[in-house]
Symmetry: C2
Subunit: 271 residues, 2 copies
């Protein structure tokens, strides 16, 4: 189904801005070439209109997307690709290839997991806005995905036609290299093995599926945070985060995933 | 200056795909409403055409952008905003508001610094591609920005009309919360102070300026990596990264910025 222009503008919160819009609407005739979107009047403000999508279809598309454009692209296009089909424009005008850059924790640097970076962008595209107040809800959705990722045994979605079977691990971190290392230890495979790559493809599918579920829940007005920060992390924040005595940092991450893990410091061989 | 359609397609490497394109070109007459891009045939494949931009203008725009849409948006729109002026379409069709999500290390979680996430997206938009081989150059540019950020006393750009003067610090990390904590310690201000916010605005300007310099250098065919990984990090990677004996992680980050920093583990008070 493609929304009408009126539906689209209404959903995007743009109805008030529509005066004089009619002159733009009707001149698109020729079909676009393959790698170029149809001519559109692209709404530059967010949110773009959302229509509920099938999380299982999203998961399979994300899995395939991983092998095309890596983790971040896989999650983003798993979701946005369905919105291209269900909503059409303006999603059909978006250069999703830009999301490839989240690969391997952004350009293979292994910082923020690309699955999460892709999920965050997709969530913000369909629920975000420039105004500070209107960022709070999308940030809550994103924080839910991030906390779920840190706290859950993943991957929790098995693709229909996997290359290998994949064991689960808990990352306790949103960072690519930590997530990879925890899984390597649990699975007994190396960081650049085909099995680890397949694990990240499953993780891409799992994250896209969970994100789609949250967006659907939000569309139903039923979103609640299911994975708050841990009690231990809240204790840390009580001394170090906003409004605390020290207030010398900021984070909504599992502090204990990196801090207070002294093993490497004492057990590491001299070099 | 706006490039002609032919220039644009040529720059974007799309000339071979242009057959039948003429039918699309000429029907845009009415002007767009304020928050909607002109009707365009948006090229969905990357790279988008680049034209050299003034790093000092980029820096000032990024500084202003920080106070509008935070760090990631500031860097991205500092660069892409100039390309909207210098190149025009397809940049004028891009919903840059999506980049707001990088705020405070993505949705305020304080993982990857938003300046770097915004820089990475901008770099990939103008130099990236889906094909794996064509990701190598943009990833080198991005890794240069990330390493520069870890190793350099920042912020190194002073806006023309700053709110405060800002001391410099070295982050040794690409992560938001670590970068913030290091600066708070150096400056003596709290993590949610107005001064810390101003520091991040300067950092946004600094990162956008450096990224624009790199993109200009690349456009001249003169890009060389000036900030390789440190010798210590290379030593770590010799045992832990791709092709090594253990090969149990992956990263292009300053390992020593987090690992082998035992002070907090011994000095932290009991709680």
């Amino acid at each position: 189904m493609r929304l009408s222009r009126r539906d689209l503008m209404k959903n995007a919160g743009m109805l008030a801005a529509a005066t004089g819009f009619g002159g733009l609407a009707l001149s698109v005739g020729a079909s676009a070439i393959a790698q170029t979107a149809d001519k559109q009047a692209v709404p530059l403000e967010l949110p773009w209109p959302y229509k509920k999508i099938d999380p299982l279809v999203v998961a399979e598309e994300a899995y395939a997307g991983y092998y095309k454009g890596a983790c971040s692209y896989g999650v983003f296009e798993g979701i946005v690709g369905q919105l291209k089909k269900e909503v059409g424009a303006p999603y059909t005008t978006f250069p999703s290839t830009m999301l490839v850059v989240g690969q391997g924790g952004v350009a293979d640097t292994a910082s923020l997991c690309g699955c999460l970076n892709g999920a965050a962008s997709a969530i913000f595209l369909v629920t975000g806005a420039m105004e500070s107040k209107k960022r709070e809800l999308p940030y809550s959705l994103i924080q839910e995905v991030f906390n779920w990722y840190e706290q859950t045994e993943l991957p929790d979605y098995r693709p229909k036609n996997p290359k290998y079977d994949i064991v689960k691990s808990v990352s306790r971190s949103t960072l690519c290299h930590i997530s990879v290392t925890k899984w390597c230890k649990a699975a007994g495979f190396k960081a650049f093995s085909k099995e680890r790559s397949e694990r990240c493809a499953w993780l891409t599918a799992s994250t896209a599926k969970y994100t789609a579920e949250l967006l659907n829940s939000h569309a139903d007005g039923a979103f609640k945070m299911a994975h708050p920060l841990t009690a231990a992390t809240k204790t840390c924040r009580g001394c170090h985060d906003k409004g605390s005595k020290l207030e010398n940092t900021r984070a909504m991450m599992d502090c204990g995933g990196c801090h207070f893990t002294p093993k490497a410091k004492t057990a590491h061989p001299k070099f």
